[in-house]
């Protein structure tokens, strides 16, 4: 996903002179490549996220489309005021590429985990927040970043994630993708997912289907603007809605979905279970997969949450 994203920037730069690239002391091979592929429009700046975001704003004010690339937690937390004021208030077409969203940097500990990036980015007016599920979807998405108005936060996963997206389902920023449709013969369960949690949730849905629990899955690659119409249409009348994200349960996809449902279906809210990272800093290291397992975000954990959530309702 990360190489695909970066390669796409170079490809876009070759066909559009507005494209610029700013790195922040990340990935030496990129520095070499940008000097060849987009000379004069790509810079490796220092460890200075506040400046880098302001500089990107200045370039955008002059008509450029800067893609800024650094570690997710530093491009969101460290320079939050610059993102809010320089990018969102001015509504400038800057693309923030957050490397290692979620638990990717598990072995490096809580200073390097971006577990609340979606929440803080989506709180900002004019910001678009996107977390695609695999490299193929990244390709389809990046083509649309050229002319999207306003800033975009792009959450990158670890890379080399299994491909689960399908070209025939298309891709439009802000439009949810129904990646699995329940046959409708049993309890109606809707999974709403984003990023690589989609991959895990699809596997969980397969596991549950074998038990007669058939789930639909709505993939929200765009968390803001949220495709509220799709959420409401698919959630209406469900026995259970489960949101699944590699992100704190505070303010992320789950919150966005609940906000939407409360507004749209005030007297007919389906039961909602929000599955994510608890409201706490990580206390463990290991790998992304291990932490996702710890938080119940791997397929067996997701499947068990859904079974448990359905059980009391069955008993009733």
């Amino acid at each position: 996903m990360r190489p695909t994203c970066v390669n796409k920037i170079f490809e876009l730069a070759k066909r559009d002179p507005r494209v610029a690239y700013i790195g922040s002391d990340l990935d030496p091979p990129i520095t070499k490549r940008m000097q060849v592929d987009m000379p004069g429009r790509a810079w490796m700046e220092g460890v200075s996220e506040q400046h880098v975001v302001g500089m990107a704003a200045g370039l955008a004010m002059e008509g450029f489309i800067p893609y800024v690339h650094t570690i997710a937690t530093f491009i969101t937390r460290r320079c939050y005021e610059q993102v809010a004021v320089d990018l969102c208030l001015h509504n400038l077409p800057v693309r923030l590429i957050g490397n290692g969203g979620g638990l990717v940097y598990a072995p490096l500990g809580p200073t390097h985990l971006a577990i609340e990036d979606i929440a803080i980015m989506r709180a900002l007016p004019n910001m678009t927040v996107v977390a695609v599920c695999d490299a193929d979807e990244m390709k389809r998405f990046m083509d649309q970043t050229l002319d999207w108005p306003g800033p975009i936060y792009i959450r990158l996963a670890k890379g080399y994630d299994p491909i689960v997206s399908r070209d025939e389902l298309g891709f439009s920023i802000g439009k949810a993708i129904l990646m699995r449709e329940a046959a409708g013969r049993s309890k109606r369960v809707l999974l709403v997912t984003t990023g690589v949690a989609t991959t895990r949730a699809l596997a969980a849905a397969e596991e549950l289907a074998a038990e007669g629990i058939d789930c639909s899955l709505l993939h929200m690659h765009t968390i803001k603007p949220l495709d509220g119409e799709a959420v409401v249409a698919h959630a209406r009348g469900c026995d259970l809605v489960v949101t699944i994200e590699e992100h704190t349960v505070v303010g992320g996809l789950g919150s966005a979905v609940v906000d939407t449902l409360v507004d749209a279906l005030p007297s007919a809210m389906p039961p909602v279970k929000r599955l994510g990272i608890p409201d706490d800093f990580a206390h463990n290291y290991g790998s992304q997969d291990q932490l996702m397992e710890l938080y119940g975000l791997q397929p067996p954990g997701i499947a068990q949450t859904i079974r448990d959530a359905l059980r009391p309702r069955r008993a009733a």
């Binding site: 004069g40 429009r41 810079w43 700046e45 220092g46 200075s48 506040q50 400046h51 880098v52 975001v53 302001g54 500089m55 990107a56 704003a57 200045g58 370039l59 955008a60 004010m61 002059e62 008509g63 450029f64 800067p66 005021e81 610059q82 004021v85 320089d86 208030l89 001015h90």
Partner: protein, 283 residues
């Protein structure tokens, strides 16, 4: 003292104000009266800097604020905005009557300037430490476009407590942005007191040079000296320029000069307005 602009200028802060400088300050009071609040000392120290920029240095078209070849003037110390509003009104970006609406609900003129609302404002500022990074990006963009337009960023002195300013300074030097000029309204007093007590900046000129800027100092109330030094930009063809403008907080209001209590007033009554006008009798 000699400086990188090749001039020897002694800061002479007792510079008397001429008729125009007094008149411009009366327009500041007009806006303060309109809004019944505002940053007083921070606007008064900026007047001659803004006056000389808009009278003699900047290239712009008031009837076409987005003219591509204009110089980009970013007031990073957005709280001093009334000084810029006054010059924009003087130059016809909007009528003088708009000054009376300062800070009112439906005004275009807020307590900090907003791009897109006010013709001639290049960036929404007020949160400190944002102007220089934006200025670096704009200067780089203009260079790619092979534009002759220049970028001027005016910061305060307390403002440069912000680390983002120094991040941007290193970057400006790295990229050799000779089309970028950083002016510092060095009035020596920030919101809570003297800069030397809150967070000492000295030796400021040495710091700017060490960060890679061709640096000069000037009496920021001496319009002749300001014009002379600014006409020498860039001070170096391969480096960004910095100009330390030695100013007096509240300049022109004897009772408010160098007094942090006059940095900002959230309530300005008619008596205070009369007091300010009284100190600014037309010559």
């Amino acid at each position: 003292m000699a400086n990188d602009a090749g001039l020897t200028i002694l800061p002479g802060l007792a510079t008397p104000l001429d008729e125009r400088s007094v008149a411009l300050r009366r327009l500041v009071v007009r806006a303060l009266d309109g809004g019944a609040r505002g940053h007083i000392g921070s606007s008064m120290s900026l007047i001659e800097i803004m006056r000389v920029l808009y009278d003699d240095i900047l290239r712009y078209r008031a009837d076409a604020p987005d003219w591509e070849s204009r110089d980009r003037c970013i007031l990073s110390k957005g709280h001093g905005c009334i000084a810029q509003y006054v010059m924009l009104a003087e130059k016809g970006f909007f009528p003088h009557e708009v000054l009376d609406t300062f800070c009112r609900r439906d005004s275009i003129l807020g307590g900090h300037p907003e791009a897109g609302k006010i013709p001639g404002i290049e960036a929404s500022t007020g949160a400190l430490g944002h102007g220089l990074p934006i200025g670096v990006g704009r200067a780089m963009g203009l260079r790619i476009k092979k534009s002759q337009a220049r970028v001027f960023v005016i910061t305060g002195d307390g403002e440069i407590n912000e680390g983002s300013v120094w991040e941007a300074a290193m970057s400006a030097a790295k990229h050799g942005l000779a089309n970028l000029t950083w002016m510092i309204d060095y009035n020596k007093v920030q919101s809570a007191g003297p800069t030397q007590e809150i967070l000492p900046l000295e030796p400021l000129a040495d710091k700017l040079r060490a960060f890679g800027f061709a640096t000069a100092e000037v009496d920021g109330h001496d319009i002749v000296a300001l014009g002379e030094v600014l006409r020498r930009l860039p001070f170096d063809a391969a480096r960004p320029s910095a100009l330390i403008c030695h100013t007096v907080k509240g300049k022109g209001l004897a009772f408010a000069e160098n007094d942090a209590n006059w940095h900002h007033k959230s309530s300005i009554n008619k008596e205070m307005v009369a007091q300010m006008y009284g100190a600014l009798e037309p010559l």
